[in-house]
């Protein structure tokens, strides 16, 4: 099981701040994961409609969508950041 955490409008659209998910073995990269999540229901489809804008962190570090997710304990999904 892998912990997924969601923030800002990704969290609101999916409808929960975090969850534990079993990730299928054919899901290798961040891009694969985003496409997989989109199949889990309307709320995921809505949140991840434009996967290229979603920012992803593995174990709380920013990664590109081409990165492999193997070994990640925590995967964060969120929109582009607007702090400061």
């Amino acid at each position: 099981m892998t912990k997924l955490v969601y923030f800002a409008w990704v969290r609101e659209r999916i409808g929960k701040p975090e969850e534990e998910l079993e990730i299928p073995p054919n899901v290798v990269t961040v891009r694969d994961l985003l496409n997989h999540l989109k199949t889990l229901g309307e709320e995921y489809e809505n949140a991840l409609q434009y996967p290229e804008v979603i920012r992803v962190a593995l174990n709380q570090e920013h990664v590109e969508h081409s990165e492999a997710i193997a070994g990640a304990r925590e995967i964060g999904l969120f929109p582009p950041m607007t702090g400061g």
């Binding site: 923030f7 409008w9 709380q60 969120f78 929109p79 950041m81 702090g83 400061g84």
Partner: protein
């Protein structure tokens, strides 16, 4: 030899005091010749905005601010750096963010503070949601292209 670099990174709901933070950074130091501070405040957008709500990724927000701060200390040979970012509900006129950079000379202090702010905007996991004066949620603030361009100038 310079004295140790003091680096203060905090993510908090409560307000901060600029004067107190500058004093803490420079106390007892005789090698610091320049201190530059930047404060980011909540604007009311010509009276339309009643509050901002700042969400953050606990743990990662601090880690990312520390990472950015470390790069700035190294690149500009800073003697001290403070970065404080608030989260939660913030009203117009209140503080959101504080960056203080200390160096032997002014250019490094200016550049260090500027660099940290540019990277904090695009890389530190914080998100702003607007609340309108009429009681409606104005929605999440969109990331600006200009912020990405501001970061790119440091390449």
């Amino acid at each position: 030899m310079p004295e140790a670099v003091i680096s203060t990174i905090r993510v908090q709901t409560e307000d901060f005091e600029l004067q107190a933070e500058v004093a803490a950074l420079t106390a007892g130091r005789h090698d610091i010749g320049a201190v530059v501070s930047f404060s980011g405040l909540c604007r009311d957008e010509q009276g339309a905005l009643s509050a901002l709500e700042l969400e953050h990724y606990p743990g990662m927000a601090e880690a990312e601010m520390r990472r950015i701060g470390g790069i700035a200390v190294e690149r500009f040979s800073l003697l001290g750096l403070t970065a404080i970012h608030r989260y939660g509900k913030i009203l117009p006129g209140e503080n959101i963010v504080l960056v203080i950079a200390a160096a032997p000379h002014r250019q490094a202090a200016f550049d260090g503070a500027n660099f940290v702010m540019d990277f904090l905007k695009t890389s530190a996991p914080f998100w702003k949601k607007e609340h309108a004066v009429d009681g409606t949620e104005g929605g999440w603030v969109s990331a600006k292209d200009a912020d990405g361009e501001a970061q790119d100038k440091w390449r």
